[in-house]
Amino acid sequence: MTLQVKDGTFRYPLSREPILEDINFHVEPGELLAILGPNGAGKTTLMRTMTGLQQWSSGHTEIDGVNLKDMSPREIGRTIAYVPQARSVVSLSLSGLDMVTIGRAAHLGMIAQPGPAEESMAWETLASIGADHLADMPCGNMSGGQFQMILIARALVAEPRIMVLDEPETGLDFHNQMVVLNLLQHLVREKNLVVVMNTHYPAHAIRIADKIILIDRVHRTRFGPVDEVMTEENLGDIFDVDLRISDIEHGDRRVPTVTAIDVRPR
């Protein structure tokens, strides 16, 4: 299932300056797209517009050539799973398992209740990412890393073809960052999903992404494969930082690192 954005432009009503202008990209199954850019560049806006949570001012999103606008909320819910930032823990919080079961909503009728089938699906999904010990914990009592796992499980249980994650590894400790990155890589390589993620970590993007969108402070974008886009020059321009990209060799693995040297005056 191909996710494609054609000539996407977004501006807030009453505002002349667009937040996003002439966005064009496409992601195939088995590919991971990472979106990088400084704070306020429009990364979250891009996620929301490409998934239909916010309407493009002009241009559109296509899934396998079908305009997102022509799909029902239920169809979209079955195709695209959206994982918000984990910091928004709501009041009246559910247990982990009840939260994951919500992911089946797009597959159930309006007044249907989840039954044993849905419940064991939620269980298996939690177990498959090694988070089944969180099933009975109220989401309000969870740490950021634990809640992130619940949110990812909730997205997976919907059996989506496209998964969109807003800063999935931000705010997690070192261990959990790697766990999330490995999990995303697994979903792309083994389950053949389309995965799109926002990130603040260039090294993470180089490590697991296939394609990159860079957005700079004045909302200009650059789209392309990792090797082309993630250069010291491009990243330096985007973040106004002098930096070096290098590989660390560990056995037969090469792990990319990005090290900031100093800030450039803006």
């Binding site: 949570l53 029902s72 909320p73 239920r74 819910g77 079955r78 695209i80 799973a81 959206y82 918000p84 709501v90 009041s91 009246l92 919080s93 559910l94 247990s95 398992l97 009840d98 919500i102 992911g103 909503a105 797009a106 309006m110 007044i111 249907a112 209740q113 989840p114 044993p116 419940e119 064991s120 269980w123 298996e124 177990a127 498959s128 990412i129 090694g130 089944d132 010990h133 099933a135 009975d136 914990m137 109220p138 309000g140 740490s143 890393g145 634990q146 796992m149 919907a158 261990h175 959990n176 766990v179 490995n182 999990l183 890589q185 697994h186 390589r189 296939d210 494969p225 990792v226 990319p256």
Partner: protein, 381 residues
């Protein structure tokens, strides 16, 4: 392209026992939720469902409260007398004891039936409002819906309209109040907990000012006392015919919320998450709000402002069974009915003259709520 090694299935192990023992967990297939819940809920919930004995206990409580409500009063009636009168009524005979028959069918039964529907309806409406606004403080009272519906009902009382007119006008003003509250609270597409409650306070203040103005203009000999007593809330003076007019609307609203009770869990998430889950929230949210407002309007037009039930009962239910609305709604329904029956029975038996319901719900409800809050630390958040 850089070579990308195949990554083994990752395991999230922040607190997982797997990592500590160093032994890979066996593949888990078709596992179900463990029997153990958490805290109190453990005793009442099993595999995400209410335990049978707990459901039976709730029904038992409701039936016991209903019996007490029918038996107690200025003229107390024993269980055999009730059964005999019921038997007479079913077989179409004259009542063995005429006084018992007329008290039961003229006063007690209608009142008991009304209390059940009012309590159940208000509790469910409160739980629904709390979910839709993902705000533990949202109730018909705090959102200004109760006050708004009262304006409509007072207007209709002044015009001397019949109950159907009172209900229609109450519903209209309730929806209007709801719309005003939501539009005040909504800022840049987001509604904060504090803003919503503040907006509710504002709308209530305006509505109460309008009610005061209407009272000033009302005929002080006939209309004013009627309005004043009615506003304080009372189930007195109901008959089966007025129940037949008002209760179906309560049932309709409650049924709507009951059927959508699992979807309330999704609505309680952020708007983006609810939409990403495939919900048509443009339809679902207004539908739930309309159902809850319909219940409130119908209750207000039959028995005035009955406060506190919508806040107190859903939170009691949450403390018993957790926050899953699939369980909270049915438990609130039964608990609300039982609670209303108890309060109404107290209202008409404690003193020689009847005490207004809203006085009792506040006097009993507030301390009880504080007690529960202190005991659990408000663990719904």
């Amino acid at each position: 392209m850089r070579p990308k090694s195949l990554i083994p299935m990752p395991t999230y192990a922040e607190t997982s026992p797997v990592e500590q023992t160093g032994v890979a967990a066996p593949p888990v297939v078709g596992r179900r939720r463990p029997a153990a819940g958490r805290g109190w809920a453990e005793s009442f919930v099993v595999s995400g469902r209410l335990r049978v004995w707990f459901v039976l206990a709730l029904w038992g409580l409701l039936i016991a409260c209903a019996l007490i409500s029918v038996m107690a009063g200025r003229y107390s009636i024993s269980l055999p007398e009730i059964l005999r009168a019921l038997g007479d009524s079913v077989s179409g005979q004259e009542f063995t004891d005429d006084r018992v028959g007329s008290v039961l069918f003229g006063v007690r039964f209608p009142r008991t039936v009304l209390a059940i529907f009012v309590g159940a309806g208000l509790a469910v409406a409160g739980a629904a409002f709390q979910s839709v606004f993902s705000n533990p403080l949202a109730t018909p009272d705090t959102l200004g819906v109760s006050a708004g519906t009262s304006v409509g009902a007072v207007l209709a009382l002044i015009f001397s309209w019949n109950l159907l007119g009172v209900q229609a006008l109450a519903l209209l003003f309730g929806l209007l109040a709801m719309a005003v509250t939501v539009s005040i609270a909504r800022h840049r597409g987001k509604t904060s907990i504090v803003m919503l409650v503040l907006a509710g306070v504002i709308v209530s203040a305006i509505a109460n000012a309008v009610i005061s103005m209407l009272k000033l203009m009302a005929d002080p000999t006939s209309k004013l006392p009627e309005i004043t007593y009615w506003l304080m809330g009372s189930l007195a003076g109901v008959s089966f015919s007025s129940i037949a007019l008002g209760v179906p609307l309560i049932v309709l609203g409650t049924l709507g919320i009951y059927l959508l009770r699992w979807r309330l869990n999704v609505l309680a998430l952020s708007e983006d998450e609810a939409r990403a889950a495939g919900l048509n929230i443009r339809v679902l949210r207004p539908l739930v709000i309309a159902c809850a407002t319909l219940i409130t309007a119908s209750v207000v037009s039959m028995c005035g402002q009955v406060g506190w039930i919508g806040l107190l009962v859903p939170h009691c239910a949450r403390m018993l069974v957790g926050n899953n609305n699939r369980l909270v709604i049915p438990v609130s329904l039964l608990l609300g009915a039982a609670m209303m029956l108890l309060i109404d029975t107290l209202a008409r038996t404690m003193t020689a003259s009847e005490i207004p319901i809203s006085v009792l719900t506040a006097l009993i409800g507030a301390p009880m709520f504080i007690l529960l809050l202190r005991k659990t630390g408000g663990n719904w958040s």
